[in-house]
């Protein structure tokens, strides 16, 4: 029986996840930081479900399949072992009052407040019976999101149909890029909702004694209008939970620029984070609707199932630390992008199941105590295919250190598409740019290369997040050294590429080969 799954969150997403995992036969520990559970948390503890409220995560060690988690609440410290961790914290909403220069009042509400008003009993708290016109301020000055515009459209449809209230939506770009939204927009228009769009500048919004007056000029007709709505509803910025920053730190997860627990890196498909066995779901990974949360619950259940499958993704190899050479400086422990190096014995060790074989520890270890297993590391291939120049001029030997995820497939496809290649091109496959070391670059020159080109994934596209930056830094250091010693720095070039850029590969390599051709043979060539 595998260990239970830890879910962190307090709301629809966490509750749905827990329900789905329980149904699938997994044990669940559900942890939330708030004193009280959210309304959506209609779960009762049971033999497979432990619920810990008012509890925070203090520590996390171990790896996928067996994480040791330290929790803290008013009972003290609690230690648990879990197979996987799913973070599912809800969004927080920040009303755009100040953006529009108004303040909340009896007749000025945020979208969330207005939704609460509609769902109260009796709906509207009397406010709606007298209202004739409601104005929504949505996506003016700041760009909105389909999750927010869907809420506005649904409210308009309901107010028009059930209450006969005239709704006016003042908007910038109307966001309809979600399933069924364009249709919903049309339905609400048919029901009488009016959408006024602004492109260059927005309406003039004023507030006195709480109530709002809006003046604007219609962009198409040029006509001037003044609205004095009974209620003004202000949209909100949808932001990640404030708790995610702490969780990112404790769980060693790369957070994106907005604070979500998934970066914009397209390699993080589904719920994946940079660490195996730790997932970000629903509003913990991007702005998402309730429907998206349900979908993520199922994706999480699948990912948990795959953790125990022998047919799940495995890296081609993994790094191994030589205990004889290791001086316990813990560089590898600090740098590993996947949290695969543990330090619970006298020496650090690589957990093979969590290692993605990127090679960062191999190239950074000051004692060269780490080696990567798997044969991919130095897979040299003489490039076949049509070649570039006539025989009578100097033909340089070009070595390309290529990331196996991007540059190698781009090169392969480039050969297939009969793009021209330098006659003497050697392609060396590295599993990731993180595995490119100064050693490797010098070796390529000493083995006879007239020029060395390093090609990794684009910045922000690296599976191990740091490969591109690492390789470019190593290249810069070698070039610095070349400069000091009077060796041509142009012989070493760093660039980025994607797996689907076959034309780009031949273009880049041809440009580089032309440079080296002009420089002539390298003085470093072994005689």
């Amino acid at each position: 029986m595998p260990e239970p799954v830890l879910i962190i969150g307090n709301g629809t997403c966490a509750a749905t996840l827990a329900g789905t995992l329980l149904q699938a036969g997994a044990g669940v520990i559900l942890v939330y930081a708030a004193a009280d559970p959210d309304k959506a948390m209609k779960l009762r503890p049971g033999p497979n479900l432990e619920i810990l409220g008012d509890t925070t995560v203090r520590g996390c060690s171990g790896t996928a399949g067996s994480f040791k988690i330290r929790l803290q609440n008013n009972q003290g410290l609690i230690d648990r072992t879990v197979s996987a961790i799913v973070v599912a914290e809800e969004h927080r909403y920040q009303p755009n009052y100040s953006l529009y220069g108004i303040t909340p009042a009896r007749s000025v509400l945020s979208l969330t407040k207005f939704k609460q008003l509609l769902s109260s009993d009796p709906p509207g708290d009397g406010k709606l019976n007298k209202a004739k016109q409601i104005v929504f301020l949505s996506g003016l000055l700041l760009e909105s999101h389909p999750v927010s515009s869907e809420t506005v459209m649904r409210l308009c449809l309901r107010l028009q149909n059930d209450y006969g209230i005239q709704t006016v939506v003042l908007t910038g770009n109307l966001k309809v890029a979600a399933n069924g939204l364009e249709n919903l927009h049309r339905q609400s228009q048919k029901a009488g909702a009016v959408y006024v769009k602004f492109t260059n500048g927005g309406p003039r919004i004023r507030q006195s004694n709480g109530s709002v007056t809006v003046d604007f000029e219609d962009e198409i007709s040029g006509q001037r209008f003044r609205l004095t709505p009974d209620l003004t509803v202000v949209d909100e910025m949808i932001l990640p939970s404030a708790r995610l920053a702490h969780l990112a730190e404790v769980l060693k997860i790369d957070a994106g620029p907005e604070g979500y627990l998934q970066t914009d890196n397209v390699r993080r498909t589904g719920l994946l984070t940079n660490r195996k066995g730790i997932l970000a779901a629903g509003p913990a990974r991007r702005i998402c609707s309730e429907k998206d949360s349900f979908a993520d619950a199922e994706a999480a259940a699948l990912a948990v199932r795959q953790l125990t499958s022998a047919f799940a993704v495995a890296a081609a190899g993994h790094a191994v630390i030589d205990p004889e050479k290791c001086i316990r400086c813990l560089t590898c422990y600090r740098l590993c992008p996947h949290g695969a190096v543990i330090f619970n014995s006298p020496r650090p060790a690589v957990v093979s199941e969590s290692c993605e074989n990127c090679g960062l520890c191999v190239s950074e270890c000051p004692r060269r105590a780490i080696a990567a297993t798997g044969s991919e590391m130095l897979n040299r291939a003489e490039a076949p295919g049509p070649v570039d120049v006539a025989d009578d001029i100097f033909e340089p030997k070009v070595t390309a250190l290529c990331c196996g995820r991007s540059a190698v497939p781009a090169w392969q496809q480039s050969v297939m598409e009969s793009h021209r290649q330098p006659r003497q091109l050697s392609v060396v496959t590295v599993p990731c740019g993180a595995g490119v070391s100064m050693d490797m670059i010098y070796r390529a020159f000493l083995q006879g290369a007239d020029g060395v080109m390093i090609l990794t994934c684009h910045q922000g596209n690296c599976h191990s997040e740091q490969g591109c930056r690492h390789a470019s830094r190593e290249a810069a250091r070698v070039r610095d050294f070349f400069e000091q010693t009077g060796f041509e720095t142009e012989r070493l070039f760093f660039d980025t590429i994607a797996a689907n850029m076959s034309a780009g590969f031949s273009e880049k390599i041809a440009r580089f080969a032309a440079t080296i051709r002009k420089l002539g043979p390298s003085r470093l060539r072994t005689r």
Partner: protein
């Protein structure tokens, strides 16, 4: 039933089909994927990377990744040129599959490209779109036409080519079927934009393929670098007249990312972007959007029609909201951002599988339950409506989960 004998059939080898297949296979279940086209990877594998030096998260490379992983997974068998010919039920689902000729064996081909270089007949062997896919042999092949040439078969260093391979029909017993047949791009031939008449009016997909193959944007008519380019959005989307009352969800992101890339690669190009509403994409859209007007002329209007100017350029007529006047502007190249519409096989498949299509013509995208979950038929990806590459992968994972649950018998539907 033990796990070894369970099997899932996936129709379509685009991002949705490949992701579903991978996710199911990773649970230890065998998957058979059939693709009607001669290559795998779907639309996305034909797309170009939009990055200059930093990734812009377009997701096109994900198709490549997924294809590579699916090709190498021991539990997945994939055949192109093959289609479903019928479906019946015994104790399991029985699919009649028309397997097209597999001239080049994917598992033997080392992608050396020798066959393409040596083929005497231009266009007979195509390199395909991805390094993870073998090349494919078309009708133009001399052996296929009159058995007069076997050069590629003779020289292939890994003996991967068998020109004698024939199409065959086979019955395949399976426990579940996933429909991942994707979408069709809108054909703008009937729109007043001169597509098919003016060679410098291209679709967004034409542009993707051009960028991918040539690494640059050129005018199809004369190969020159265009100085002025217009992108026209919502061609076949948000358009009730052509029966498409939906947003295709991917075109704003794709067109704007492409426009920004052209700006960087071919500096000095003037780009106009004609739109209804710009849709949000990427996690840092606020800052992307703020920067846009500095690089691209954003025009909130959909042009009426496109005509040829005297100097063989393209004239666009549109209502300008800034001056409130009808304006004319000429361009060297016009890109039509064509929408996502239901695949042409959707109706036939729905009938075979007794599924109801949504009003839009897509398979219904029920949020809580897959359609017809009890019958072992599932749908993944853009067959259910527009979605981008990342969303497609997420939807496919979800479909995979529903399928796995169904196979384990723990679906209480």
């Amino acid at each position: 039933m033990n796990s070894e004998s369970r099997k899932v059939l996936v129709l379509g080898a685009g991002v949705a089909g490949l992701t579903t297949a991978l996710e199911i296979a990773r649970c230890g279940i065998r998957v058979e994927v059939i693709e009607k086209k001669p290559f795998t990877g779907g639309h996305a594998v034909q797309f170009s990377c939009k990055a200059d030096d930093a990734c812009v998260s377009c997701g096109a490379c994900i198709a490549e990744d997924t294809l590579k992983a699916a090709r190498s997974h021991p539990l997945i068998r994939m055949t192109s040129n093959s289609r479903l010919a019928g479906i019946s039920r015994s104790s399991r689902l029985v699919a009649a599959i028309q397997y097209g000729p597999q001239y080049i064996a994917a598992e033997k081909c080392t992608r050396c490209g020798l066959c393409i270089q040596e083929c005497p007949q231009p266009g007979a062997i195509s390199p395909g779109f991805s390094g993870s896919d073998p090349p494919f042999i078309s009708e133009a092949c001399l052996y296929v036409t009159n058995q007069s040439c076997t050069r590629c078969q003779d020289i292939c260093p890994s003996a991967a080519i068998n020109l004698q391979h024939r199409s065959e029909r086979q019955q395949l017993e399976t426990d579940a079927i996933v429909i991942a047949t994707g979408f069709d791009p809108f054909n703008p031939i009937d729109k007043p934009y001169g597509y098919g008449r003016f060679s410098d009016v291209v679709t967004s997909l034409d542009l993707e393929r051009m960028l991918k193959r040539q690494g640059a944007v050129r005018r199809p008519s004369d190969g020159a670098f265009p100085r002025k380019i217009a992108f026209v959005q919502c061609v076949g989307s948000r358009d009730v007249k052509c029966g498409h009352p939906w947003c295709s969800q991917v075109c704003c992101a794709s067109a704007l990312r492409t426009a920004l890339l052209i700006n960087k690669k071919q500096p000095g190009t003037q780009i106009s972007f004609f739109y209804i509403d710009i849709q949000t994409f990427g996690s840092n859209f606020q800052s992307t959007y703020r920067e846009l007007p500095r690089q691209i002329d954003l025009v909130r209007a959909i042009p009426g029609d496109i005509t040829a100017s005297e100097d063989n350029r393209l004239r666009l007529i549109f209502f300008d909201t800034r001056s409130r006047r009808q304006l004319e502007e000429t361009y060297d190249l016009v890109v039509l951002s064509v929408g996502i519409q239901p695949g042409r096989d959707a109706a036939a498949l729905a009938e075979w599988f007794h599924l109801d299509l949504a009003e839009t013509g897509f398979f219904p995208r029920q949020e809580q339950k897959q359609p017809n979950a009890g019958s072992g038929i599932f749908v993944a990806g853009t067959a259910c409506g527009p979605m981008n590459i990342q969303e497609t992968a997420a939807h496919a994972a979800r479909t995979a989960w529903n399928t796995v649950r169904f196979l384990n018998g723990d679906d209480n539907a």
